[in-house]
């Protein structure tokens, strides 16, 4: 009997600790699948963030380093510069990567650092209970934008991929979502391209994954998926934002 779908090898067999309907688990599964397909599980090192994403090390069966909030790209840089033969990726939330860690991700991209970042954009600070993130969309209510985000006091939703696309070292930037099988397949291709960008030594790569946070959005998993598609994607258009051929450093 043909296997249509089974758990990837690199995904440790235990239940995720995420909320029902959260896509953190889904994203991690896809990363695990790509690692399996590339056969790089033995030389991959993940760098965890602070945020709900932090639990990734309990689920992905690779070496892991956990560090301070927002600094994963710097930590990853330290690892990659020490061990250039390893595949190093960071896995970060929007608070982590686009708020406190802005400088670290931007300069990693600008250096063309040979690392890959997977960025879970759920438009809120999930772990701390749903505060406004730089990626919170306009009018979205959060616990620190109780009347909805409005530009005058809170600023605008930050489009990280677009920002990073102005950095010369960014070799591959892509934005994906996981709300249906087609998008999931596209996401998987993007994640694979990102890791291949690294493996081929072409430059910095990042995949932004739009992801629901039903708990803090105050929605059912289904509502959250709908909201993501209808409200979030218009602010964060899916697709490849930067694809540079050749080796940037050459």
């Amino acid at each position: 009997m043909a296997v249509v779908f089974e758990r990837p090898k690199t995904l440790i067999k235990k239940p995720f600790t995420y909320c029902p309907g959260c896509h953190h688990g889904l994203a991690q599964r896809i990363i695990a699948e790509v690692i399996d397909e590339l056969g790089i599980e033995n030389k991959t090192i993940g760098v965890g963030p602070v945020g709900c994403s932090v639990y990734i090390y309990q689920f992905l069966d690779t070496d892991f380093v956990m560090g301070a909030h927002g600094r994963a790209p710097a930590i990853a840089t330290g690892i990659k510069r020490t061990q250039p033969d390893k595949i190093v990726f960071s896995y970060q939330g929007d608070g982590d990567i686009a708020a406190i860690g802005t400088a670290e991700i931007l300069h990693a991209a600008n250096r063309g650092e040979l690392i890959s970042s997977f960025f879970i954009n759920n438009a809120v600070f999930g772990m701390t209970g749903g505060q406004m993130a730089p990626t919170t969309i306009l009018k979205q209510k959060t616990t620190t934008s109780p009347k909805g985000r409005e530009p005058k006091s809170h600023g605008f939703p930050l489009q990280l991929c677009e920002v990073l696309s102005a950095c010369q070292g960014s070799a591959y930037l892509s934005r994906v979502a996981l709300t249906n099988p087609k998008l999931i397949n596209q996401a998987k291709r993007s994640i694979k391209k990102a890791l291949l960008t690294q493996i081929e030594g072409r430059g910095f790569s990042l995949v932004e994954i739009l992801s629901p946070c039903p708990t803090n959005w105050g929605m059912s998993p289904q509502e959250a998926v709908d909201w993501l598609e209808k409200e979030m994607i218009p602010y964060y258009p899916l697709g490849e934002i930067a694809v540079k051929e050749g080796i940037l450093h050459a």
Partner: protein, 78 residues
Amino acid sequence: MKQKETMRLPSGRVIIDQEFCKGCSLCIRICPREVLGLSNRFNSVGYYPAVVESAEKCNGCGFCAQVCPEVAISVYRG
């Protein structure tokens, strides 16, 4: 409660791990054949997990497994 809820059919076979499932219903929503539904008994963590309700309808497309955030579903065909 059984740990695994399985079904067998010429076209598709779906296994849902009842302890991994959190009852988010995303699989139910995506299934083109209305194969799945929610159980009315909660699992040991306290969630009402998805169960196969109309096994015979499954075409083994794997959509349910693709979208399951808990990687609770395996799908086989043939």
